[in-house]
């Protein structure tokens, strides 16, 4: 009798235990824990990145007074503007040149630092990271004084050697050179530290085997170092390309896009049009122009990385 009475309770209890058990199991799953831990960041990104991105998309489809939907009309308008194509060309020159030089310099410096004895390496690593750590707006102000049209410290120094004065920011080509130079100076340490980390993870046995096979310095770099660093090079390049295309502060502070618009890049021109010129929809369209191109580049690079990961 007692058993009969207890039976339904037992069933209910085992059901509850089962439910609790599955919740417990789900919570214990690594993926759930990882998701919960990443949730604050996901929410932050959703608020600060995804919402503004969709809002920018919405703005780019409005007319100048933001009262009418014009679809892709703003892009159609931009494609007919000479200055827009100048900005596209300059953004590409700026980003591609700067990323190539940052990668090459970062690679060379990483090798130098890697070869420094462990005792003094930390000091060098710290010092070399300084340009990357200082807020670019601040360091660019220092560069602005060095390049100042009338009181350039570089020109002052060069004058002792009978050189100059060089119009660092006054001539279109020198101005392009100056903004790219500062971008390289700021960004190269990031490549250096990433490549240094990658270099440290290359097993010494590979170099030893290569040495036994009679590989020279160049062959060791080409057949051992570079293949082992391929993923990190791809990721760093992609990341830097996106960040450099979106650069604003360096150009804004050094040249503000001049002379004759010859240093404008997407962000500075978008600011000029959108904020200074009160044409927010057109400014939004300029800033969104690179999104599809960079997205396609990102998909290909990341796919390549994951493919290599699977092969490994």
């Amino acid at each position: 009798m007692a058993d009969v009475v207890l039976q339904p309770n037992r069933a209910a209890t085992s059901k509850t235990v089962g439910k609790r058990g599955s919740l417990h199991k789900m919570l214990k799953r690594k993926s759930t824990v990882a998701f919960l831990m990443a949730l604050p960041l996901i929410l932050l990104i959703a608020t600060l990145v995804i919402y503004p991105a969709f809002y920018a998309l919405h703005l780019a489809t409005l007319n100048k007074s933001m009262s009418r939907f014009v679809g892709l009309g703003n892009f159609e308008f931009l494609f007919k503007r000479e200055t827009f194509w100048l900005v596209v060309q300059q953004s590409c020159i700026f980003a591609i040149t700067a990323v190539i030089f940052k990668a090459v310099l970062g690679f060379i410096i990483a090798h130098f630092v890697h070869n420094i004895p462990a005792k003094g390496q930390r000091k060098w690593r710290g010092m070399l990271l300084v340009p990357w750590v200082i807020p670019p707006a601040m360091s660019t102000l220092a560069w602005l004084w060095l390049f100042d049209p009338s009181y350039s410290a570089f020109n002052y120094t060069l004058s002792f050697f009978g050189i100059g004065p060089i119009p660092w920011t006054g001539d279109a080509y020198w101005a392009r050179f100056s903004v790219i130079l500062v971008n390289i100076w700021v960004g190269a340490p990031f490549f250096m530290i990433m490549y240094l980390a990658a270099l440290k993870s290359v097993p010494d046995q590979l170099y030893e085997a290569a040495a036994i096979d009679g590989a020279n310095w160049w062959q060791r770099i080409w057949y051992v170092t570079l293949p082992m660093m391929r993923n990190i090079i791809a990721i760093t390049t992609l990341f830097s390309l996106i960040v450099t295309f979106a650069n604003f502060d360096i150009v804004r502070i050094l040249t503000a896009g001049g002379p004759l618009d010859h240093t404008h890049i997407f962000a500075t021109w978008a600011f000029r049009i959108g904020i200074e010129g009160s044409d927010i929809p057109l400014g939004a369209s300029v800033s969104l122009f690179m999104v599809p191109i960079l997205a396609v580049a990102a998909i290909f690079i990341l796919r390549d990385i994951s493919k290599r990961g699977n092969e490994a």
Binding site: N63, P149, S150, L282
Partner: protein
Amino acid sequence: MSRRKLSRRQFVAATALSSAALITAPYVRGAHAAGKLSIGFWDHWVPGANKASTDIVNAWAEKEKVEVQIDYIPSQGNKNLLTIAAEAQAKSGHDILAMPTWWPHAQAELLEPMNDVMDGLIKQNGEPNGTVKYLGQSKGKWLAVPASVGSQIKGPCSRIDLMKQHAGIDVQALYPAGAPPKADSWNLDTFLKAAEACQKGGVPFGIGLGETSDNVDTAGAIFQSFGAALVDEKGNLTVKTDAVRQALEFYKKLISFLPPDAGAWDDSSNNKWLVSGRGAMIMNPPSAWAVAKRDAPQVAEQCWTHGFPAGPKGRYAPYLAYFWGTWSFSKNKEAAKSVLRALSQSDAIEKMCVASGGYDLPCYEKLTTLKVWQEEGPPKGTLYHYPNPHNHQTLSIAAAPAPPKIAQQIYTQATLTKMCLRYHKGEPMEKVLAWAEGECEGFMRS
């Protein structure tokens, strides 16, 4: 223990009384009975100048029982423009916001009409100058109230000694302190000859050709003195005209006498040029002179602010106006209008002008002869002609008389200085004009 019974009548009466008390309570005149008001003022360059506006607002707030919050928003890095754009997007923000030059028109649809405020102020202070009407009015509606704080004329500031020495021009004789100008001979030809002489003497005029406001303003005034406009008031393109060609020819000659790096100049470059003693003239309000007073007194005592040279179509000087606007979504419009009236009284304006060392310039015709400009020095009288007290020149803004929304694009994109630089660098005249016409066509999109 006795218990008092509450009758139905007593209950209704008590409820009615307490409801009435609750409803009327907010109207009891307490410390901040008239609500709250938030103000976004422009953060003045001149140290201590903000205090004058704070004092005026606080005195008003105490009298009117309003709780006021003032934010001083700098124009460095265009933070003020970003604030205007953000508040317009969010439809929320300050009840009063300082807006430079083109922004009342840019935000016209979102601004509270100020005709009721302006009618009274015009009766008291006289007519505002034409540039303020152009920038502050739309279809008979005042979009914002002209602010003396931040408004300025960017006229020539010359070195008395260097102009005498190299160009043989006595700027004090042309523009004597306390008297009307005797500057009939001060025209663009004399100006060009002086520019050449000073360049040969190693102290070139510090006029920039970059894309920032100071550079564009000078180009605008010179174009206007030739009668040259890229777009007329009806919105028609007028780029390919003789007046524009003449202005470009003049600028081409002028550029050869300017510092070789003028194309890269920003708004601080001319100030540095004057203060360092390297140039005989710049086009600026007295801020450069004020810095020189502090850092290079020997330069400051040789500075003289005066009028623009006249061109074939008149004598024009760039006037940059600031405004105080109230959003249509403001929560306390009446209080905003009341404080704007207080800030625009002649004694308040004088107080703010004095605090700015004479930098600020009211737009009203009765307020261009305040004591501050007569007394400031050294040398005494250096600012006498700064506010255009004898209406010797027409105050204007670059790209006018084009409809303001088109003019804003011409101004912001520095189309005028770019045209001058392109022509100077050897681009054929017709190609430069075709480029400018294409740009202006683009600026007309609505």
